[in-house]
């Protein structure tokens, strides 16, 4: 292979790993943007277009518009009579809606909806009837007289989210411009109020006018009549007439009955994930619970095995809800806390050697297309030895806390890939263990003695990390991490919870009295740098902050995080306006029984001027030598060093000058060995300087800080490595 190709290969294969937490955040942002784009597009264009262009399809969409207008106005006027209508409608549990549409050519379309929360849906359109009762869904095709059953989709599309029910309809969170609603006083009487609805979309040249009749007692609309017209197309108006009825709907409406004359088709095949659970000897395990967690933690389910040890997870239709590979499965036998079965089903397209032995035979994975699982069959979950994590949850005095919630997250590291957690390596978001928790955690509660026990914990790898998170009402949640190779099958993890309830309020100023706004304030216990953040908040513009529900402890302290730029998510401009200060740590002087504290946090403005001169033992200046300013405990962040120019090179006279240097605890210079941010030297010159100065021994020089003094001069005589060795 030629060298150029090798170089290309090196570039191509440079490893890149990302943090799964951030992966999920960015994807969530993108998905949210997609959702917004969709609703926006629908509102702006698609629906109007569809209705105007084609009367055959999307009749439902027209009804959406009516209700959306009905509801959309609520976002900008909550006090009007119309706002009350919207509120009343959003609280309705069931209704029946009859709609008539008249198209410009005189044709009419009827449709009817019966909706009842939580599991009653019936839609009658001109071509088909849909009945969904939460268990099964029947579609009757009126044109060719065919009937077909499938599984209910109400689990994924609840009735309360039906577009007819949606609180703000397709205009979720948006105001509808160009819409006016006025009560027509002279047409209203004691029982009914009449509203005039006007909507103009200047961009699409749609106008839309109508009336709504509202029952004065219930404030619910009983009839809405509308006309929709597009000036641009000028092909006449479509009118809608909707009659709403809120009286109880009889049960038989939602009964999936096939009328005479219909042919029953075989039920629609549901996609499924299936397999069986066997014990150590390969015999089927009945009544085992099988937990399934998908890649994005959007599909967490559990089922029990039947008499043959077999299990089936029904998958939702892909257009309703999608399930992503890989999957994590865990099976728990009915009465044996010491056994567990687990496996990971990978995406066949991406399968690679993970350096971890995944138990179970390779199942058959059929994909509809690269995105959707058609079906997975032949999964075999075989029992192996399981771990148990148990312990006590107590308060700081050692009193047991009963009813505390305990969650166990897993984190195994693949054997070959150092530092790469197992699940993200497989593509999971997070560290699921196949449990009931919202992120696939194993969950339980403590008993009267504050004891908890999580059994059937899968032993995923040679070395396993687990995180035990405990929380209880009235206490601050706390966590403990353990690492184990499971030499014994039981791990004891006790977690102490602090009573919550201390409120710390205060101000954050610099020593010139300038308020520091939008800075992060955290409550910690004890001095450890990496200790858990119990609560956090931000200062307001005047530097005020309030931390609520802080843990009750004599070691409670409040930290203002000022040495790290926390504004970077606010965009470049804001970010570059950040001023750095040393972190401020203030202990809360806890007094028994006192729950309210007031603290004053004063950050010292970095305003030292320090001149440094570096010479060698011959008295000659050391040129272009890297210098870094540090503190022993509160080392400034790399961002601060970069933005605040806390790293420099000596000039041609061996001097450099730091202005706006912070008064850090244990202020010192690292002479040599420093990394220079924003280097003024070109790469070549920097490399030259490095080789010229290679003979010197790097050193640390403390700055002797005196109270009140702001200007300092430090002289350093630098030894060569030879001289330094000789001295020793």
């Amino acid at each position: 292979m030629r060298s150029a190709e090798k170089t290309e290969k090196f570039i191509k294969n440079v490893p890149l790993e990302t943090k799964s937490q951030r992966d999920k955040e960015v994807l969530d942002d993108a998905l949210r943007a997609l959702q917004e784009a969709k609703t926006h597009a629908q509102r702006q264009r698609n629906i109007w277009k569809t209705i105007m262009k084609s009367k055959m399809t999307k009749l439902a969409a027209a009804a959406v518009i009516i209700l959306a207008v009905l509801i959309g106005i609520g976002t900008f006027d909550r006090t009007s009579a119309w706002a009350q209508v919207i509120k009343a409608f959003s609280e309705v549990n069931q209704f029946h809606l009859k709609s008539t549409k008249i198209f410009p050519d005189g044709t009419e379309k009827y449709e009817e909806y019966w909706l009842r929360k939580p599991d009653g849906l019936r839609e009658e359109h001109s071509q088909r009837i849909i009945i969904d009762n939460g268990k099964e869904r029947l579609t009757l095709n009126r044109d060719n007289k065919e009937a077909q059953f499938e599984d209910s989709i109400l689990e994924y599309r609840p009735v309360s989210d039906h577009y007819m029910f949606e609180h703000i309809g397709i205009f979720r969170g948006e105001e509808m411009e160009g819409l006016t609603v006025k009560q027509v006083k002279d047409q209203s009487d004691g029982t009914t109020s009449v509203f005039r609805l006007d909507y103009k979309n200047s961009f699409l040249q749609n106008t839309y006018q109508g009336k709504a009749w509202v029952d004065n007692q219930t404030m619910l609309p009983t009839r809405i009549k509308l006309q929709l017209q597009n000036k641009q197309k000028d092909d006449g108006a479509i009118s809608f007439d909707e009659i709403l009825d809120y009286s109880p709907i009889p049960d038989d409406v939602f009964e999936p009955v096939i009328p005479d004359g219909y042919t029953l088709l075989p039920p629609k095949r549901t996609q499924a994930i299936s397999g069986k659970v066997v014990d150590d000897e390969g015999a089927p395990v009945q009544d085992a619970t099988v937990y399934l967690t998908d890649k994005w933690l959007r599909f967490l389910r559990n089922v029990e095995t039947d008499g043959a040890g077999e299990f089936v997870f029904k998958l939702p239709p892909s257009e309703v809800h999608w399930v992503g590979l890989p999957l994590f499965l865990r099976a728990v036998p009915p009465n044996d806390p010491g056994r567990v079965a687990w496996t990971i089903i990978e995406d066949p397209a991406k399968k690679k050697d993970q350096g971890v032995a995944i138990p179970g035979q390779t199942p058959r994975v059929e994909m509809k297309d690269p995105l959707f699982i058609q079906c997975i069959s032949g999964i075999v979950l075989q029992m192996e030895s399981a771990g148990t994590i148990s312990g006590r949850i107590t308060d700081t005095q050692g009193n047991p806390i009963s009813g505390a919630e305990v969650k166990v997250e897993g984190r195994a590291y693949a054997a070959r890939i150092q530092g790469m957690p197992l699940f993200p390596e497989f593509g999971f978001i997070g560290d699921p263990l196949g449990g009931d928790g919202p992120r696939g955690e194993l969950t339980t509660r403590t008993d009267e003695q504050g004891r908890y026990k999580v059994t059937n914990v899968p032993k995923l790898s040679k070395r396993n990390w687990y995180k035990v998170v405990a929380s209880a009402p009235g206490f601050s949640a706390n966590e403990k991490r353990i690492s184990t190779t499971w030499t014994s099958d039981v791990e004891q993890v006790d977690v102490q919870l602090y009573h919550a309830g201390i409120t710390v309020s205060g101000t954050l100023m610099d020593n010139y009295g300038r308020a520091l706004g939008m800075r992060e304030i955290r409550a910690h216990i004890g001095d450890e740098a990496g200790s858990r953040i119990f609560c956090s908040t931000q200062t307001d513009e005047k530097g005020y902050f309030t931390l609520r529900d802080c843990p009750v402890s004599p070691r409670l302290q409040v930290r203002a995080m000022l040495a790290q730029n926390t504004w970077f998510h606010l965009g470049k401009e804001k970010r570059s306006s950040y001023t750095y200060y040393p972190n401020v740590i203030v202990p809360v002087n806890y007094r028994e029984g006192t729950m309210q504290y007031d603290v004053k946090m004063v950050a010292e403005k970095p305003e030292f001027t320090i001149e440094l001169e570096v010479k060698n033992t011959e008295g000659k200046p050391v040129v272009h030598y890297p210098i870094e300013l540090q503190g022993t405990s509160s080392t400034p962040s790399a961002e601060w060093q970069k933005d605040g120019r806390l790293t420099q090179r000596t000039d041609t006279e061996g001097r450099c000058k730091f202005t706006e240097a912070p008064n850090l605890e244990g202020l010192r210079f690292v002479v040599g060995r420093a990394h220079i941010f924003n280097d003024a030297l070109s790469k070549e010159d920097a490399a030259k300087a490095k080789s010229e100065n290679a003979a010197y021994q790097w050193t640390i020089v403390p700055v002797d800080v005196k109270p009140g003094q702001k200007e300092y001069r430090v002289e350093v005589t630098l030894l060569t490595i030879e001289e330094s060795n000789a001295k020793q």
Binding site: I11, L16, V26, L27, A30, A37, D369, A638, K642, K683
Partner: protein, 181 residues
């Protein structure tokens, strides 16, 4: 490629799974491209974040049939160029800024986990003039043809090809020991 066509089609229909798949498929490549061009991981991360959000926002307007990866790579490059231009106006850092990947990658908000090879490549990349860097990254990591790169750089194919040759040569000498392993 066939998968991409399907993904684009499904994505334009507003299907979340398609976006998730596109994200998953190209996230790392785009981060590599951005990090290779910028040498500042935080900015590279922000740019890729922005590319995906913007992509999602324009789902219905997207006019694209072919090379999805190339399209996304171009989005990244345009943003990098813009950010370089903006920084040049402020004149605080030069275009060929040679600062290595920042060391605060262990903070929770960081996206890319640092590793030695990535650092090494970035340090070497930083020594290339920006135009060469762009050609190398787009061709090798973005999988773009020289013709497409020439269009995007507004240069002739010959220029782009020689940029590539010089770039690769220089990288080879810089990464010598590592590459020959």
């Amino acid at each position: 490629m066939l998968e991409d066509k399907m993904l684009i089609w499904k994505f334009k229909l507003g299907e979340e799974a398609a976006l998730a798949r596109i994200y998953e498929k190209y996230k790392n490549d785009l981060l590599r491209i951005a990090a290779g061009l910028l040498n500042r991981t935080s900015a590279a991360e922000d740019i890729v974040h922005d590319v995906f959000v913007t992509l999602a926002q324009s789902a219905d307007k997207l006019k694209l049939n072919g090379n999805l990866k190339g399209y996304l790579a171009t989005c990244v490059v345009n943003r990098v160029r813009n950010s370089n231009r903006a920084r040049n106006r402020r004149q605080d850092v030069s275009l060929d800024e040679t600062e290595p990947v920042m060391s605060d990658s262990d903070k929770p908000e960081r996206w890319i986990v640092r590793n030695e090879k990535l650092d090494m490549l970035n340090a070497a990349m930083a020594q290339l003039p920006y135009a060469q860097r762009e050609v190398v990254i787009l061709h090798v990591q973005g999988g773009m043809k020289f013709r497409a790169i020439a269009e995007s750089q507004n240069a002739s194919i010959n220029t782009v090809q020689s940029r590539y040759r010089y770039g690769i040569d220089k990288l080879r000498s810089l990464l010598n020991s590592e590459v020959e392993r």
